[in-house]
Symmetry: C2
Subunit: 582 residues, 2 copies
Amino acid sequence: MAYLDKITSPRDIKTMTTPELETLAEEIRAGILNRDSKIGGHVGPNLGIVETTIALHYVFNSPQDKIVFDVSHQSYPHKMLTGRQKGFTNDAKMLKISGYTNPQESKHDFFIVGHTSTSVSLACGLAKARDIKGEKHNVIALIGDGSLSGGEALEGLSNAAVLNSNIIIIVNDNEMSIAENHGGLYTNLSLLRQTGGAAECNMFKALGFDYHYVEEGNSLPALIEKLQQLKDTPRPTILHVHTLKGKGYKPAVENKERWHWNLPFDIKSGTVTIPSEGENYNDITFAYLNSKIKQDKDVVVLTAGTPGAFGLTPERREQFGPNYVDVGIAEEHAIAMSSALAKGGCKPVFYVMSSFLQRTYDQLSQDLALNNNPAVILVFSGAISGMDATHLGCFDIPLTSNIPNLVCLAPTTKQEYLAMLDWSLKQRRHPVVIRVPIRVTTSNETVPANYDELNTFQVVHQGKQVALLAAGNFFELGRQTAAQLQKHGIDATLINPRFLSGLDEKCLHELENDHRIIVTLEDGVLDGGFGEKIARFYGPSSVKVLNYGAFKEFPDRIPVTELYQRYRLTPEQITADILRLG
Amino acid sequence: MAYLDKITSPRDIKTMTTPELETLAEEIRAGILNRDSKIGGHVGPNLGIVETTIALHYVFNSPQDKIVFDVSHQSYPHKMLTGRQKGFTNDAKMLKISGYTNPQESKHDFFIVGHTSTSVSLACGLAKARDIKGEKHNVIALIGDGSLSGGEALEGLSNAAVLNSNIIIIVNDNEMSIAENHGGLYTNLSLLRQTGGAAECNMFKALGFDYHYVEEGNSLPALIEKLQQLKDTPRPTILHVHTLKGKGYKPAVENKERWHWNLPFDIKSGTVTIPSEGENYNDITFAYLNSKIKQDKDVVVLTAGTPGAFGLTPERREQFGPNYVDVGIAEEHAIAMSSALAKGGCKPVFYVMSSFLQRTYDQLSQDLALNNNPAVILVFSGAISGMDATHLGCFDIPLTSNIPNLVCLAPTTKQEYLAMLDWSLKQRRHPVVIRVPIRVTTSNETVPANYDELNTFQVVHQGKQVALLAAGNFFELGRQTAAQLQKHGIDATLINPRFLSGLDEKCLHELENDHRIIVTLEDGVLDGGFGEKIARFYGPSSVKVLNYGAFKEFPDRIPVTELYQRYRLTPEQITADILRLG
């Protein structure tokens, strides 16, 4: 690394020649591949944005000039130019640097970001603050074409256009969202690319932006020249750059979807180096829905820009045929459309990650629940996890289960999941949210096919003194705790609540007869969750309640075993607490 | 009413002549004014859309052809043409008909709608369902220019454009949101109006829509001709109609903002007939912020399209000067921008209605709370109320208080509110949500100026046996309940929790010493709220907890006194429950 190692701040690149910067670009690419091949991460987005990032830091003066990265999954080159290159070149340092921007890591980062479509609004706020305070500097948002389709980005664009001041929005157009793009926006981006930015029908100009285009979005001289021209503009400005996603790494260029994000891999072959973990809910869900669609043409599968996260490869999407819709990164639209599909007689199934379901609270409430239409929402990755603070899946129980009319289910086994999914498509009375389990466990016990009688808990084992209400992913923890209690002479009752959105009052009242302690276990944040409803139910009684789940916090890449310890989520800790309570 | 009274279904108007339809239009306008003058409601939007609605029902065949109304605050003419005219002409029947669409009222309504920007996505779902099921009919969304700026509408537009099938989106352009429009979208709508729809730079065409324009949006012949041309189009189509908001009622035309929605009024003079209720939090907040901005130029006030709801008249907005930003109907943008304004050193204060804050869960969580920037959010109308099911303000406590880092405050008096607001602008460590009280009560007691020590509850009266934790609006209910208990010889402790987002564990532990029953009172839904956190805290103890608040449901225009009875929220009911518990 002739150049990268020596960079201490972005100033260091300002005196470099173009050939030197081009060598630097290669070194940065090697850094991206080194990190991603070792610990996994975003590949294509970072490889494509190397030259833009170098040009930005060459022309502008960070951190006085402020660059806001959308999603910030493409901020690796920026990190390497702002003193964090060891997180890419030194294996031992990698985990110290996150895959997203974070002001705690560097003064060149302004926000912790991990969800899409936020950069324009955030940049608007920085620009307005600058103007209010009478400061002078550039504010730049860097947003990918895929992120443009999110409502927040579109609200931001409309507002940025009338800011009447300096704001430069770089649209990094690599012709791809995570998967292929969907939506009319892309019709226009395509026209603009085809015409070298010259088409008169230009949505950015329509909004009132100054508009510029760089076809050679991986050419340093072209980018530097254009950015020098735009620097200090007094006007809201779009710079549309056409880049190559995955540039510099053949596998990533050839299969852009697969290489958007990748597990650790062998650089030479591109093969993933982590063994796959056997049966998973992506495959199970696809197998079920694909067979279902063949029998019932009313079933419609929806995703919002992230089909790959659910194992919905292009081949699988193809198999769904016209009964599959990807709406692009537009979760709000997906929920509203699902509600209306159900109203129109279809059976929509919307796949969504727990963390991204957060974008749809009002659509869940108003468009779906208030209308009580029978759409099905499959929530994936809903669990306490070691994820980045921006992608936690521990908030969806409070998010969904406190909205009237939504039926929220927490299956515990593969059999129960499939039975609940099947029921949710059969019934026509409720919108249903299913929290897809994390680990595949199977059971030989018969699972009911019908869940029409809402909020009926299942008593799996009838004991006494202590009852464990162990929901979804944490049913197994309940079973383990019961085993632990047995060692102390306590024959605990074990209950699978199945429903997170309502209580089985009959069951709970019966427990009062011969139970002193009720324990709830849920794989998510405690505040506003399932356990608190149980605590409220027993509030007026003499039964004691212990609630287990996550604390209200944003843990950042803390190993899940450490979080379990912190939250007292091991069978030993729970047993100790129960014994202490007497 | 020569015509209106006789209409039993939209079919009845298909044989009418243009002059007859024009007379019908006048009758409909009289119906709108009659209803609004008696019970209040949306004035300008309904008066402006009369001809469009008649033309729609003249040309299309509802309910086979499906019309989706955005917000549906402009659905009065539609209601009158679909058998519900008595809700407008007969005073005794008015309250039976809501101000919004509702499938339970009529087969011509497809959704319960009251929030903006949802119609295009809902129409997309109906259109896709039609295509999946092989049906043939038109799907029409009617959306105002003001609603276009919401992210969900923009996501919907981008998706509708690639539907490759029949969907007709009528953009009702009356050159106004609730107040004036803000955003680049309006730059383009203005250009299109000026060019009679001919400008090449057209955001709708850019997205891929067929685009049509009708300048005379209140001319029945012009509208009918155009709609006949568009009927059964196989293409995603925009019909941009230029209408006059408030048409036919001079006061509403002359002051469009004031007449968007109005309290009951005298038709002749336009004067509101309900006496104003004395001091209110709109005036209190304005007076405070206006004086604050004069001293501190870093304070920035934001609204999202509804300044009038907070008493921010044009004159008051003018006084804020450059320190005021209305972002249009774009709540997500408002939260993200607030976070960034705070990051940039400003002191943003975002005014928002509880019901519309629901649109921003992810922005509250990711853009604001995760970044821990010191923005201030003033939540208005957060309370159990007799509102329409689409505008309830009872869900914001679970929405905000379960997000890490957000400090949620519930002031109980004017003095406490102002002290908390002042503190929230002084401190630089937390994003702060203040639930603005509903009724103005004052207190002579000293209120602390500093809330740095989070989650400190205030013991207002130290008693024993029973403690009442009475939050925000319900502090007064706590006081009344304490008085009631006194009659039964119980000297209850009265506590103002002040914070909704965390517990004062020291205070709660101390209560355990000499209290047997802890009662929580909150003016919102119980599920996921404040009381459940108290129940969880005391779960392992022998202290009994009674939680009071709203049930998880969407009550629709139920008088608040009836809801209080239903939820057992009177001092007598609460006292009876406490005595029963022993």
